[in-house]
C-alpha cells in the first residue's frame, strides 16, 4: 500500500494537531461536557453520595433557581464585570490612550507605570490591596482620603464589592490602554486635519470621528475583557474569599465554595454549567457579530 504525497501530508497535519487536541480535550473540552452530566447527579465529596452518586434529573437546577445565594452570585458577577471591565478599565484605559496620543513628554514612563499592575500575579494583587485597604488611620487608602478630610473606612467590610471592582480596574487599565492605543493609531491623521479645517470642535471630533472609527476595537476590547473578568478567581479569593456575607461571591468563587467548602459536587457542577453556557453564548455572539475570519 502506498500513500500519495498529498495524503501523507494531510496525515502529517493531523498528527501534528494530535498532542494539543489530546491535552485540550482531556482537560478542557471533556470536563466541560462532563460538567453537564455531573450536574444531573447528587455527587458529593463526603457522605453517602460520595461513594454512590445517583441521577437526580434537574433537581440541582430547580434548587439552583430557588437559591437566593445563586441569584446573589449572578448579580455580584454582573456588577463586577460591568463595574470593572466595561466601565472602570475601559474609561481609564481610553483616557490614558487618548492622552498618550497628545504630544506629551515621558510617554514611555507613563506607559511603563500603567502597565505594571497588569504584570503582577493575581495572588500578589490581592495581597497588595489588602495593605491598601487596611483599616484604621494608617491604612494607605485611609491616609489618602484623610487629605480630603474623610474619616477612615473599613473598605473591605463597608464597600466590599466596590473595593474589588477598584482592584480589578487597577489591574486591567493597561490592557485596555494598549488595545485602544492600537485602535487610535489606525485612524488616518488626515481625517482629523480635514475636520479641523472645517472648524469642528474637539468634542465633535471625538464623538463624530474617533468614537465611530474606534467601534470595532472597542467591541473587541469589551469581548475580551468581559470574558476574562467573568473567569476571575484568584484575585477575589485572596482578597475576600467571597465575603463578607457573600457580598463579593462572584460565580467562580461560588462554584468553588459550593464544591469544595460545602462538598456538593453535583450542585457545584450545575452552577458551572450556567457559567459555561453564559460564556459560550458570549463567544458565539462575538464570533457571529464580528464575523471572525479564520
Amino acid at each position: 500500500m502506498t500513500l500519495s504525497f498529498e495524503t501523507k501530508r494531510q496525515l502529517g497535519y493531523r498528527l501534528m494537531m494530535a498532542p494539543a487536541l489530546l491535552l485540550m480535550g482531556a482537560f478542557i473540552v471533556f470536563p466541560a461536557f462532563y460538567a453537564f452530566s455531573l450536574s444531573l447527579t447528587n455527587d458529593a465529596l463526603l457522605g453517602f453520595a460520595a461513594k454512590e452518586s445517583s441521577f437526580v434529573g434537574l433537581r440541582n437546577f430547580t434548587r439552583l433557581f430557588g437559591d437566593p445565594l445563586f441569584w446573589n452570585s449572578l448579580k455580584v458577577t454582573l456588577v463586577f464585570v460591568i463595574g470593572s471591565a466595561v466601565i472602570g478599565q475601559f474609561v481609564l484605559g481610553f483616557a490614558a490612550a487618548l492622552c498618550l496620543q497628545q504630544p506629551v513628554k515621558y510617554k514611555s514612563i507613563f506607559n511603563a507605570i500603567i502597565c505594571l499592575p497588569n504584570a503582577v500575579p493575581e495572588m500578589v494583587v490581592g495581597f497588595l490591596w489588602i495593605s491598601m485597604y487596611a483599616s484604621g488611620e494608617y491604612g494607605t487608602l485611609n491616609r489618602i482620603i484623610a487629605w480630603f478630610g474623610i474619616a477612615p473606612q473599613q473598605w473591605l467590610y463597608t464597600f466590599p464589592l466596590f473595593s474589588i471592582i477598584i482592584v480589578n480596574t487597577w489591574r486591567g487599565i493597561a490592557f485596555s490602554m494598549i488595545l485602544l492605543t492600537s485602535g487610535l493609531a489606525a485612524i488616518p491623521k488626515d481625517i482629523y486635519e480635514a475636520a479641523r479645517v472645517d472648524g469642528a470642535t474637539d468634542k465633535q471630533i471625538f464623538l463624530r470621528i474617533t468614537l465611530p472609527m474606534m467601534m470595532p476595537t472597542i467591541f473587541l476590547y469589551l469581548f475580551i475583557s468581559t470574558v476574562t473578568t467573568f473567569a476571575i478567581f484568584g484575585l477575589v479569593y485572596t482578597l475576600s474569599r467571597g465575603g463578607p456575607a457573600n457580598s463579593t461571591e462572584i460565580l467562580g468563587i461560588y462554584i468553588y465554595n459550593q464544591s469544595f467548602t460545602s462538598f456538593q459536587l453535583g450542585y457545584g457542577a450545575a452552577v458551572a454549567v450556567i457559567s459555561l453556557v453564559v460564556s459560550m453564548v458570549l463567544g458565539l455572539v462575538y464570533v457571529r457579530a464580528l464575523k471572525v475570519e479564520v
Binding site: Q10, Y13, M16, P19, A20, L21, M24, A26, F27, I28, V29, A32, L38, L92, A96, L98, C99, Q102, V104, F110, I113, I114, C115, L116, P117, A119, P121, E122, M123, V124, L128, S131, M132, Y138, T140, R143, I144, W170, I173, I178, L179, T181, D202, I224, F230, A231, F233, G234, G252, I253, Y256, F260, A272, S275, L276, S279, G283, L290, V292, V294
Partner: protein, 302 residues
C-alpha cells in the same frame, strides 16, 4: 488667532498631563508598601518609611524557610509547561496554518470557544478527571516496583493529584488555545514558498523545519512562550486544587498559606516573597508587551 490656537493646545496638553499623572499615581501606589516593607526590619501591614534597611527577610525566606523549594517548584512546573506549550502549539499552529482540510475552520472556531471557557467552571469535572488519571498512574507505579521509597518518588513525579506531571499537563492544556492562535498567525505570515524552495534545494523535512521555519517563526514562539509563562506563573487556582504536600508547594501557594497564619502574619516574610514571585512576571511582561496588540487582535482576526 494663532495665539488662541496654541493656548488651546497648551490647555489640552495640561489636561493630558494631569490625567496621566492621576492614573499613574493610582497604578503605582500599591507597590510602595511591598517594596519598602520587604526591606524593613519592622515591616507591618501599613505603608511606612523604614528606619533602617535589611535583607533579613530574604535571607529568612531562602535559608530558614522553604523559599528555595517554592522557587524551584514554580520554575520547574511553569518552565516545563511553557516548553510543552511551545512544542505542541508549534506543531498545532503550523498544521492549522498549512492545512486546507475540512476540519480547519471548525477547529479554529472551537479553539476560540475553548479559549473562553472560564477555568472555575471546570474545577469539579477536572478534579474528577485528575483523580482517575491519578489512580491509573499509581496503579502502574505499584506494578513497576515494590520498593516503597521508589514508589513515593515516582508518585511524586508522575501523579496527577499532588504530583509534578499533573500540574505541568494541566497548565499546558490551559495555555494551549492562546498559544496555538499566536503560532497559527505567525505561520500564516510565512510564505509557503520558503519551505518549497528549501525542499527544492534538497533540504530534508527536518532541515527545513530547523533552518527555515523555526528561525522565521521565532517572534511567534517568543510571544506564545511569554504569554504561556506569564499566565501559568500567575495562576493560583490549579495549584490550589491539586497540591497538598509541602514538598510540592509553589510560590503562590506558599504565599497564600503563609498569609493564612492568621495569628502571626509575618509581613516582612510575605512582602519579600511577593517581590521574588512578582519579579519574573514583570520581566516577562516587559518583553511581552510589544506582542500584546498583535497577539490579541491577530488571535481574533486571524
Amino acid at each position: 488667532m494663532m495665539q488662541a490656537q496654541t493656548h488651546l493646545e497648551q490647555a489640552t496638553q495640561k489636561k493630558a498631563y494631569l490625567t496621566l499623572v492621576a492614573i499613574s499615581f493610582f497604578c503605582v501606589i500599591p507597590f510602595f508598601w511591598v517594596l519598602l516593607a520587604a526591606f524593613d526590619p519592622q515591616a507591618t501591614q501599613f505603608l511606612s518609611l523604614p528606619k533602617e534597611l535589611t535583607a533579613g527577610h530574604f535571607y529568612n525566606l531562602l535559608v530558614n524557610e522553604s523559599g528555595v523549594r517554592w522557587i524551584f517548584n514554580s520554575v520547574l512546573i511553569v518552565g516545563l509547561a511553557t516548553l510543552l506549550t511551545l512544542v505542541f502549539a508549534g506543531f498545532g499552529g503550523y498544521a492549522l496554518s498549512r492545512t486546507s482540510a475540512w476540519w480547519k475552520r471548525p477547529l479554529l472556531y472551537a479553539i476560540i470557544l475553548v479559549r473562553i471557557v472560564p477555568p472555575p467552571a471546570l474545577i469539579v469535572p477536572v478534579y474528577k478527571v485528575m483523580l482517575w488519571l491519578n489512580s491509573a498512574v499509581n496503579n502502574v507505579i505499584l506494578t513497576l516496583t515494590e520498593n516503597v521509597e521508589q514508589q513515593i518518588l515516582l508518585s511524586r513525579i508522575f501523579s496527577f493529584v499532588d504530583g509534578y506531571l499533573g500540574l505541568v499537563l494541566i497548565h499546558t492544556a490551559m495555555q494551549l488555545p492562546l498559544a496555538i492562535w499566536i503560532m497559527k498567525t505567525f505561520f500564516d505570515a510565512i510564505p509557503k514558498d520558503y519551505e518549497e524552495a528549501a525542499a527544492l534545494d534538497g533540504a530534508s523535512q527536518m532541515q527545513t523545519v530547523r533552518r527555515v521555519l523555526i528561525p522565521l517563526a521565532l517572534p511567534g514562539f517568543a510571544a506564545a512562550g511569554l504569554f504561556a509563562f506569564i499566565n501559568a506563573w500567575g495562576d493560583f487556582l490549579m495549584p490550589l486544587m491539586f497540591t497538598s504536600s509541602p514538598e510540592l508547594q509553589t510560590l503562590p501557594l506558599g504565599m497564600f498559606r503563609a498569609f493564612l497564619r492568621v495569628d502571626a502574619i509575618d509581613y516582612g516574610f510575605l512582602t519579600a516573597l511577593a517581590v521574588i514571585y512578582t519579579l519574573p512576571a514583570v520581566i516577562a511582561f516587559s518583553f511581552a508587551r510589544k506582542y500584546l496588540t498583535q497577539t490579541f487582535s491577530g488571535g481574533v482576526k486571524g
